[in-house]
């Protein structure tokens, strides 16, 4: 059983039904730790050592966040800037994250068609997530293809619960299955 660390960043969690449902679905799972970054660091003063400790203990890391302006909310970027230090996460001696699995789990208002070369966002979600992918790669991590919850402006009730169940099963799979290399990730 792998230890899963969910780094969750939402500046107004109390107003996000989609993220509430997702977080609820994966709460209270054994060996799955959720770190609610906006609750822990309202002042953006991320505790680097503490975060590095948690990262080191975990084998699977999830960045769960809404997709704001084609990226993550600022505190998660702050977290990346501060925690993934030179000489710890990458560079000489930066070996502590090697071979861990990492994945974005994102919620977004727009629909599938909007995120395509023909759609009004011009690029696919995977393309927008390139900075995350490359960050993972630089740290020697295996970047899994993202979990996405699209069209949050319209989805509700049953559809939402179904997606949450899917998310939970994915996390359980990441935690339990023997070999994750079969899971689709970008090499």
């Amino acid at each position: 059983m792998r230890k899963v660390l969910v780094l969750f960043a939402h500046p107004k969690f109390e107003h996000s039904e989609a993220n509430q449902v997702l977080i609820k679905a994966i709460s209270d799972l054994e060996k799955v730790e959720i770190r609610d970054l906006y609750e822990l660091y309202p002042d953006f003063n991320v505790k680097v050592q503490k975060e590095q400790g948690r990262l080191f203990e975990s084998e699977v890391i999830i960045w769960q966040h809404p997709f704001y302006w084609y990226s993550c909310p600022p505190l998660l970027k702050q977290w990346i800037d501060l925690v993934l230090e030179f000489g710890w996460a990458y560079g000489p001696g930066g070996v502590y994250l090697k071979n861990k699995f990492i994945m974005n789990a994102i919620t977004m208002g727009g629909s599938d068609t909007a995120y395509s070369h023909e759609g009004r966002n011009n690029y696919t979600v995977e393309e927008f997530l390139r900075p995350f992918e490359q960050t993972a790669r630089l740290c020697g991590m295996k970047y899994l293809s993202p979990f996405t919850l699209k069209g949050t402006h319209r989805i509700g009730g049953e559809g939402l619960n179904q997606k949450a169940e899917e998310y939970k099963n994915l996390i359980l799979q990441l935690r339990d299955s023997e070999n994750l290399d079969s899971l689709n990730y970008i090499r």
């Binding site: 509430q20 003063n45 501060l82 230090e85 030179f86 560079g91 000489p92």
Partner: protein
């Protein structure tokens, strides 16, 4: 058993034995008192025979209860309930009275007797229902609100009922003066004068509540003699009760009105605290008296008639209430506890029976029968309610439960704020700006007056008094904030809360680190040194003015503050060892200085290379060479 002491001992002993047992069995105190009354009544142990007498005296407990309920209900909330009281309450009273009237007619009673029975039976027991709603903490629930609306209408209805009864008297029968308050001293005046007196009395209560009681209580509270305050509170309730009786209104209604008017006053919690024990004792006595008046020999002789009549009236009332609850869109479980809760015949009916007997409408036999039915119904419905709560509802609610846990984020907890000086008022303003209305207590009458004029809802009272904390709702509150600028008071308060409200989160203002140590040693975790944040913030600004970058300084200030709090936790352990303490403090200060010394971030925390590219450059250079 003769003599006051012997009597008192019997009552108190019976209550002390029966009520805890009833509570243990989950039955609520009302049933406990009723059973206690039955046990010591004439048919079991035979200790007392004058249940009715006592009942009339103990009815004052109901009066007090309504005063206290009024205190919790502000006028604007009462106004919001007008539709509920008028439409729901009135339809319950009228429909029930009409149906009972019809049934009694069908059973062969004369129309006079039938009407009197119908009107009496329409009333439910305010004492039983409200007491159990309060115990279950359901006053604010849909069931509680609807029940309260109906009960209030019934209390109002007592006035016209007592006015109608004399009209039913067959001419020639002499009336022997008003019972139960009707008529009173003004019955010899012509009708228009009586009406005038009634409105005058109500107006007087409103005026006194608005302008006289507040200053009176303020004056008394300045003497700091507690018993004087209690006496004044009693004077207010007894006085209004008497005034209402004189003009022939229900004393309960009058005191309720006074309570509503005083609900806005700063003395609300202090009044509640002082009157609550009296109310509790009198109500207990009242319920015991009801239990003692049940005429078991009459019931034994006419078991089938009385039992079927009792069950019949309960069913009939419950059915009407159920239809009303249905029309008000109560859910099935809510509706069941509403309709069964109010299905008994109430204590005011004893008054109307006595009155009707005196008027000669009822003969002794009918009156005894009705009394037995009423007392029996008052005993049975609490048992039904227990069954409903313990057996039936748990099953139903399990089915209806849906997953809405996430709503918790929106729900606001209850907060009590003690001390409303500059510190407390700033805190209170911040909370209020974000929609959290704390219950505020302050012990300075002038300060309270002043802040009230400024529009703050502040109550007068000493926050270190246990009963006052109870009245302010410390049992249900989530957080108690002490913004009191006195270490001794705070220590007392912390002990009090630890002992009595273990679930209450206590957050305390501390003057300096020495006060903080004291509090830490008492196990308080939420300690707020009043100068800490302000001085650091000021320091931040100083450094900004000296040319440092704002964000860097901001981060350092945050670290400094956290460091200071951590250091406090370490230092508290060395506090009693003077020498070691001084050396510890010294090293702490050195650490703090190093935080602000030349190399800033790097030296303070070896791990903080935030946005710092020096190490990368260095490593690149070494690769090249």
């Amino acid at each position: 058993m003769e003599g006051f002491f012997a009597q008192a001992i019997i009552y108190i002993l019976a209550a002390i034995v029966c009520v805890p047992i009833a509570k243990k069995l989950g039955m609520g105190s009302v049933l406990g008192y009723l059973i206690a009354g039955i046990v010591i009544g004439p048919y079991l142990l035979g200790f007392l025979s004058e249940g009715e007498d006592i009942m009339h005296k103990a009815e004052f407990g109901v009066v007090m209860m309504l005063f206290l309920i009024g205190l919790e209900l502000e006028p604007k909330n009462l106004w919001k309930m007008r539709d509920l009281i008028l439409r729901v309450g009135l339809s319950q009273v009228l429909v029930t009275a009409a149906l009972v009237f019809g049934i009694a007619l069908a059973l062969g009673f004369s129309w006079r007797i039938s009407l009197a029975i119908g009107l009496s039976m329409a009333l439910s027991s305010t004492a039983i229902v409200l007491q159990s709603l309060k115990e279950k903490n359901e006053m604010g629930s849909p069931t509680g609100k609807l029940s309260f609306g109906v009960l209030l209408m019934q209390d109002i209805a007592v006035i016209p009922i007592l006015a109608i009864l004399p009209l039913l008297v067959v001419s020639g029968v002499q009336t022997t003066g008003g019972a139960g308050g009707s008529g009173g001293l003004i019955e010899n005046f012509p009708g228009w004068a009586q009406t005038l007196f009634i409105f005058g009395a109500i107006g007087l209560v409103v005026l006194l509540g608005r302008y006289a009681f507040g200053p009176l209580l303020g004056l008394v509270s300045k003497t700091k003699l507690r018993e004087l305050f209690t006496a004044s509170a009693l004077l207010i309730v007894v006085g209004i009760g008497f005034l209402m009786q004189v003009v022939g209104l229900s004393p309960a209604l009058g005191t309720f009105l006074a309570g509503v008017i005083l609900a806005n006053s700063p003395y609300r919690h202090a009044l509640e605290t002082d009157l609550d024990p009296f109310k509790g004792l009198l109500l207990g006595l009242f319920f015991m008296a009801v239990g003692a008046t049940i005429n078991f020999s009459l019931i034994a002789e006419n078991t089938s008639i009385i039992v079927s009549a009792t069950v019949g009236i309960i069913l009939l009332k419950a059915l009407i209430l159920f239809v009303i609850g249905r029309s008000k869109r109560l859910t099935l479980p809510e509706n069941l506890s509403f309709s069964i809760g109010l299905s008994q015949v109430g204590e005011f009916s004893f008054v109307t029976y006595a009155f009707a007997s005196q008027l000669g409408i009822f003969n002794v036999e009918i009156s005894d029968f009705l009394m037995a039915i009423t007392a029996l119904s008052m005993t049975i419905t609490p048992i039904f309610l227990v069954l409903l709560d313990k057996v039936i509802l748990p099953k139903m609610i399990k089915v209806e439960k849906n997953d809405r846990d996430m709503d918790e984020i929106e729900s606001k907890g209850k907060v009590i704020l003690l001390g409303f000086s500059h510190f407390g008022s700033t805190l209170g303003r911040f909370l209020r700006a974000n929609g959290i209305e704390a219950t505020v207590l302050d012990y300075n009458p002038d300060q309270v007056d002043f802040l009230r004029k400024m529009g703050f809802k502040v109550y007068f009272g000493d926050g270190t008094r246990l009963d006052l904390l109870h009245a302010a709702g410390a049992d249900e509150a989530d957080i108690l904030i002490s913004a009191i600028n006195n270490a001794e008071t705070n220590a007392k308060l912390v002990h009090l809360c630890k002992e009595n409200f273990p679930n209450l989160e206590v957050m305390v203002r501390a003057k300096n680190r020495y006060d903080a140590y004291e509090l830490m040693e008492m196990g308080v975790t939420n300690i707020y040194r009043e100068h800490l944040d302000t001085s650091i913030r000021m320091g931040e600004d100083v450094m900004k003015k000296l040319g440092f970058r704002s964000h860097t300084i901001h981060r350092l200030a945050q670290n400094f503050r956290e460091y200071d709090e951590e250091a406090l936790k370490i230092l508290v352990q060395y506090r009693n060892n003077r020498k070691e303490y001084i050396s510890k403090v010294k090293s702490q200060i050195e650490m703090q200085e190093s935080m602000l010394s030349g190399e800033m971030a790097k030296k303070f925390s070896l791990n903080d290379h935030a946005w710092d590219s020096d190490s990368i450059k260095k490593s690149l250079n070494s690769e090249k060479s």
